[in-house]
Amino acid sequence: MRDRPRFLIPLLAAGLLTACSGGGTTTPSQASNPGGAAAPPGAGGGAFPRSQTLYTSGTQWGPPANWNPLREWDFATGTKGLVYETLFMYDPNTDKFTPWLAESGDWTGGKEYTLKLRPGVTWSDGQPFTADDVVFTFELGKMETVPYHPLWSWLKSVEKVDDLTVRFTFSKTNYQEWANHLYSRAIVPAHIWQGRTEDEVMNGANEKPIGTGPYVYQSHDQDRMVWVKRDGWWATKALGKDVKPKYIVDIVNSSNEVAMGMLLQKGLDLSGNFLPGIPNLVKGNFGIKTYYDQPPYMLPANTTWLLLNTTKKPMDDVNFRRAVAAAVDTKKIVEGVYGNLVKAAGPTGLLPQWDKYVDQSVVAQYGFTHDVAKAKKLLADAGYKDTNGDGLVESPTGARISLKLVVPAGWTDWMEAARVISASAKEAGIDVQADFPDYNALVDDRNAGKFDMVLNNDRQLSNTPWMYYDYVFRMPVQKLQTVTNFGRYENKQAWDLTQQLDQVKPDDIEGMRKITSQLQKIQLQDLPVIPLWYNGLWSQTTDSVWKNWPTSAAGTPKYPPTLWRNWLEMGGTLMLTELQPVSGG
């Protein structure tokens, strides 16, 4: 009795320990190779040879949970791109469409688009890829919860003409939006997906993804997703393109700091994480590269806007909005907060890839720059005066102005930026307080229009500035504004122009410019949004195992170096075909 407790505890510990390690080994093994097509003989010992494996991170923030290409926001890294492919590829840097699963596509009538499919493409289960698959994929959109359901409000029918030809008939020709669909929609195999209910289509995990792409499922665990190269990818024969890494291991990060550590240990080849101190590492001799070797280091990926709630006083006053725009010291954010890791946005906010749509004469006439004196003058002219002598202006009616700029708590770079904005607004005499609520609370308030000012960068780079103006001007304003026009700005003319822009053919650059010029004039005169800076396509690469990464230097590929969701069809897959092993194979 006397000695029992002493024995008890170590025994208990030992028991639990064995139980745990037992659990640790058995649990993940349920995830064994259902992809089927290419069992990995090379991985006999369970190991992925370093020289044949590409390690990536920065996309997946939680355990891989589904391989459903329709869930474009939370599928496992690479589901669309490595497994499921799109009809076209789009390169945002050159503004070029490359036929991919399609061989060609043309408008063959006023409201008719004909797609010729590539022969010789097979699914990873050996079945041929045909027009049936394309028709099936687009018809899935008839289900209401499928994200591309709105397409069917202007698409009339999809027909199979023969095995390799598909005809689309439209009720309204939204050329710009259609071009976006052409490279965004992942084509799924009809022979496998047929008969799935709406619930299975949208909410199914799709554990055994069968695609046309260069990789198939190998295994996954809580902290990783492993893809293995498939034999007989069509592009090798048809286009002479081949992906070099045999395995792609995408690592789930819990934090950017951990990603930084792994990058320094050369445990990562490509990191898509936001690493604030990266300029120092690029300049130092750490073997880490970014797309540009000088500011802004990254390719631009989206714009951060300062959104003003135009339904609230005094933000409903255009002069007040212009004063805010002139007051914000973006340079201080770019240099002080980001260390030049981002680029200050132009007054239109259109990403540099869309430069050709910017009407410089309009910008010269109506654009704004950081100018405190001008901000003060704008305020004074519009009747905003400091009546109580606290250095901050009151509204023309004498009401106190005290505004809140909300930014999600924990988004440290944005929080710093919000403090800079608050300080520079104060300089001009406007009382703006930075406030950091929880992300979910912020989303609620933002959607319901219960905010003064908010930062946002939801709309990403795409093939068309129409997407950008859709974000800025979309009408009608709903009770909940969930994805566009958070500032609740209403301008019928601007929305009409935006819809007209959608109806211009993508190759008619002049026609597009004519409309974007008018939109820019409205935008700059009325300032429904204030563009601040361009966020980068965060991407860091190391040369220890794989080389020939995309950079701005001559003689290197120019594709976006990333595996971020929805970027593989914008060149991520092509980047993989350009990689070269540093040694051996």
Partner: protein, 330 residues
Amino acid sequence: MRRYFGRKLLVYGLTFFVAVTVNWLIPRFMPGDPVQSMLSRANVSQPAAVEAMRLHYTSMFGFDQPLWRQYLNFWGALLRGDLGISIWLFPTPVTDVIVRAVPYTLGLLVPAILLSWVAGNRFGAFAARRRWLDNSVLPLGYVLTATPYMWLAILLAWALGIVAGIFPVAGAYSFAMRPELSWAFAGSLLQHWFLPFASLFLVAFGGWAIGMRNMIIYELEADYVTYLRSLGAPGRLVRRYAFRNAILPQITGLALQLGVLVAGALVTEIVFSYPGLGHLILQAVQNQDFFLLQGTFLFIVLGVLVANFVVDVAYVLVDPRTRAGMGGAA
């Protein structure tokens, strides 16, 4: 004895009910709508599509029902062993998510807490009788205990992981491996386990050692020790008695420690990117994943209750006074 445990079980049952109810309530009083935040991450460009999806998921998760209904549904499902579907890791069932994470957390925490407790008590008792040790090593214990855990963990990861390159800084086993029964895999597991374990062990060790050292010094000055000594009892026997008395508060401390167990793992798992319950909790909170939060908290509540029960039992075994106190009832 039966009445003692009967009463204990009743208290545990009540605690369980209240704790689970609170766990159910808290996320629902958090501002924000989980479906809405899931969709805003989804970045679907068409408002019409978003609205259809919002309605669909709201009814799917049952958020469109009145609160009392949701609460009843929750207990109904819980009694069937169904914890719901994770919103963040859609469409994985919460049970699966937890079952996959728990081995890592327990494998890390249980050895760290128990070993540090055993070693810390031994060391503290030992140090109390050696003046030089008391003067040199115990201050180190104070430093270790006072060190912010986060800082120590980052320091370890940086020094032994990144600079020295001896230990990996992320994952539960090598990213180049697949789980299997082999020495290489076990080695890899151990290698990845060591740093997080060591960081937890070090911090806890200092605390236990200090506590035990103080208790032993106190006990050695107690009347019964003086009495024993005057009877001429050997030093070993005296020390054993002192140790057994000194260990009692430590056992209570251990029970409390087991209570905050998962909280401790949260930081560890984030710093070392170790795939356990801790970082699930953080993500569940950030993503307003009601079901995952409920599931993990349920697990914690169960863990704390079981740990406390075990300590209650242990107390009966190690402290004869407890047995004497309920002798009549037994």
